[in-house]
């Protein structure tokens, strides 16, 4: 496939690996921001091909992972309402809320009470639908004027233009039965939070290419300056990642910092101006809770007052719902690069993809799911 096969070529990968090996003298820790990058690294086995001096830690760039637990509970509560058609991207459907499934075990059967995730709500007969675009949810709202259509708008800057477009369109169409449950988060404030933490181990970043396609990379320049770290805007194919790692490593070994753009086939310094304009029209920056990490100031988007009528949390009155995290899950430390998934006591034992304790085990982009599915078990025995 064009623009893919070129970036999965073994001979070129070997050249990069040899160059990386030659460069690596001291020990370095580099964080890839995006969960998609984490998956490529593990899926293609790059993590095992790199020299030992180099540690890759996995960043918070997995929208499913950082969406607060209480927001999942709010989604479940809204989805259970009879008038609602609840729509979502596929991978949010399996994220469990805080209500642990309780089993009443009789001699012959197990009876479950309450749905744990959106798929469970759907199985109980409520109207939950998977969509591929928020614009499909707008179409549903047009088609079903007697129902309330809610879209679960999660994600980073990458999905913000689509979600903004959906709300903007709904407003143009005068749709009173469309709303979004919004949990948008932003990458630069999370990087600042990681770099500003007392325990920080990250010395360089691979920034997320798709986020930068929308936003450009000018926002990263002051971060690189302030914290004296190299930030390499990186793509998602194996060779993109090897190239990004090579550039970050070269900067680290030479004592340089600043922003470099590996993903120039998609990213410019300014980004996509039209998309940014639309985001600015519909959303404004706000403080956001990050699951496992906590509150990060000015780290997300909410609907502007002019679009508040499309806010599902207000429409359905679920803003006061809170939730308690499992005390066993160390997702926060994993998302900040402080620990690896197999260093968690629940990993692979109490927490597995079919029975996840925390979101990084649920999402197709979550670091824990990547480690589990691709067999990076440390000393943990699978399926115990």
């Amino acid at each position: 496939m064009r623009f893919v096969d070129e970036y999965r070529n073994e001979a070129d990968a070997r050249k990069f690996l040899t160059a990386i090996e030659r460069l690596a003298v001291r020990e370095w820790t580099i964080m890839e921001i995006c969960g998609g990058q984490t998956h490529t690294l593990i899926k293609s086995g790059i993590d095992r091909l790199l020299p030992q001096q180099l540690t890759l830690v996995h960043g918070p760039g997995c929208p499913v992972c950082v969406t607060p637990l209480e927001l999942i509970d709010r989604a479940l509560a809204i989805a259970r309402r009879p008038e609602v058609i609840f729509t979502s991207f596929g991978d949010m459907l399996r994220v469990p809320g805080s209500a642990r499934q309780t089993f009443e075990v009789s001699k012959t059967s197990k009876v479950s009470h309450g749905a744990r995730d959106l798929l469970g709500v759907k199985a109980q007969g409520d109207d939950v639908r998977m969509v591929y675009s928020p614009l499909d949810a707008v179409k549903l709202a047009q088609k079903h004027p007697d129902r309330q259509v809610v879209f679960f708008a999660v994600g980073f800057e990458t999905t913000a233009p689509g979600n903004a477009m959906a709300v903007w369109q709904a407003k143009q169409l005068g749709l009173a039965n469309f709303s979004i449950l919004c949990s948008h988060v932003l990458v630069p404030p999370a990087m600042e939070a990681i770099l500003g933490s007392a325990d920080n181990q990250v010395q360089g970043f691979l920034a997320a290419g798709h986020v930068c396609t929308v936003m450009g990379y000018w926002e990263y320049e002051p971060i690189a300056e302030r914290h004296r770290v190299p930030i390499v805007v990186t793509g998602f194919e194996p060779l993109d990642l090897l190239h990004g790692i090579y550039l970050a490593l070269a900067a680290l070994e030479e004592g340089r910092w600043g922003v470099e753009n590996q993903y120039s086939r998609s990213v410019t310094r300014e980004g996509n101006r039209a998309a940014q304009k639309l985001i600015g029209e519909v959303f404004e920056v706000c403080d956001r809770q990050w699951r496992g990490i906590g509150l990060i100031p000015a780290s997300g988007y909410r609907l502007r007052p002019a679009y508040a009528g499309f806010d599902a949390e207000l429409r359905f009155g679920v803003t006061d719902m809170t939730a308690q995290e499992s005390s066993l899950c160390i997702a926060g430390q994993i998302l900040q690069g402080l620990k690896k998934p197999h260093q968690c006591s629940a990993f692979g034992v109490l927490c597995r993809p079919e029975q996840p304790l925390g979101a990084p085990m649920v999402s197709s982009e979550g670091a824990c799911a990547a480690y589990y599915s691709y067999g990076r078990m440390g000393n943990v025995k699978r399926g115990a």
């Binding site: 070529n9 991207f89 949010m92 998977m130 597995r352 982009e365």
Partner: protein
């Protein structure tokens, strides 16, 4: 008598445009459905429509003499399989629920090393199903059965109330004969064996999904749904007793099928990503959705695990067959790591290929 290939539905559409509960009631309408639609479509000497079952002659008169399996007469083992088809949408590029119901069971029998002979067909129809759709599905089943050289010799029809079914569910059960000397079983995979596949993987799952979810790609991806019994016979003729395992990787895809085999045989399997054929359109669709083609369903693919010495002749036999022109060696059975499947990535890294937990769900970004 209505011809099986008449272009028009033989049930007077003006009178009965849709299935009604009476079509399953056992009375005149039931009889009309059977006599005018099913019986002509599946016409064969064994189909006694007024009887509850078929009496089958073991003389096997309908098998032609050029059959690739020449020692069927000495067959001592019966292959027996059942499968139910509930697919939505009922029609998709490359097939429909009718052809799928024939191919699926034919393939299950073929993967036992059996020569598929007779099928039963059970229909559960939902009140309100357009008669014309049923007609098209039955015609498609009839054509698929003829092409696969199997006979539908007995059947059953029930109608459920509107809202209690999804238009149509079909169950097919089939029997076939396993020629003497053929020993196909997942437990027979052993270290050193070679893993082959007859062509590009993942087309069926993506074709069905694109229709179900209304996804539009530049070129329509067609299901690979096809009967695999002649391919299986050619593989057996080329590899003989060195053919250890045959498997059609349907739901759960190649990854799940190989994990099952690895677990049953207590062996490890090592795949080479660079050699696994995937159609460009399927690869692109998977990239957009965040799917791995290794987990996407196939309905016309056959995995063969054969002794090392038989790999070259089996590959040649597969490539000589119309359904195997893009056949490839994709991996081998390894010593050690019993029960696990590994994959050498295109760039030379190594990872495990796990069983799928739940369905693959499209990702956010």
């Amino acid at each position: 008598m209505h011809s099986a290939f008449s272009l028009q539905c033989p049930i007077p559409i003006s009178d009965y445009p849709t299935i009604t509960l009476a079509h399953g009631g056992g009375g005149k309408l039931s009889q009309m459905l059977v006599e005018r639609m099913f019986a002509p479509a599946f016409a064969c000497p064994e189909l006694e429509i007024l009887h509850d079952g078929a009496a089958l002659d073991f003389g096997l008169t309908h098998i032609d003499e050029q059959s690739a399996i020449c020692n069927l007469q000495s067959a001592t083992r019966l292959a027996f399989s059942t499968d139910s088809y509930v697919i939505s949408p009922r029609f998709f590029p490359g097939g429909d629920i009718g052809s799928l119901a024939i191919h699926g069971t034919v393939n299950d029998l073929a993967m036992c090393g059996g020569r598929p002979l007779y099928l039963s067909a059970g229909f559960i129809l939902e009140e309100g199903l357009p008669m014309d759709e049923l007609w098209r599905i039955v015609q498609s089943m009839s054509a698929a059965a003829k092409a696969a050289d199997v006979r539908v010799v007995t059947g059953d029809t029930k109608v459920v109330e509107r809202g209690k079914g999804d238009g149509i569910f079909i169950n097919t059960t089939g029997v076939g004969l396993i020629p003497a000397g053929v020993q196909i079983a997942p437990t027979r995979a052993r270290p050193g064996d070679i893993v082959l596949v007859n062509g590009p993987i993942g087309a069926h799952g993506i074709a069905v999904m694109s229709v179900r979810e209304g996804l539009e790609f530049e070129t329509a991806i067609e299901s690979d749904s096809a009967p695999l019994h002649t391919l299986a016979a050619d593989i057996l003729a080329a590899g003989g007793e060195a053919v250890h395992v045959l498997r059609d990787p349907t739901r759960g895809g190649v990854a799940s099928a190989l994990n099952e085999i690895a677990a049953r045989a207590r062996v490890g399997i090592l795949l080479d990503e660079a050699h696994i054929p995937v159609q460009e359109e399927v690869q692109a669709a998977c990239a957009i959705l965040g799917f791995d083609p290794l987990y996407v369903a196939n309905e016309g693919k056959c995995l063969a695990i054969v002794g090392r010495s038989a790999a070259v002749p089996v590959l040649a036999a597969m490539r000589a067959h119309p359904l195997g022109q893009q056949a490839a060696i994709i991996g081998e059975v390894a010593d050690g790591q019993p029960g696990k499947v590994f994959l050498r990535s295109r760039i030379g890294g190594l990872r495990m290929v796990d069983m799928l937990s739940g369905e693959q769900l499209p990702r956010i970004c």
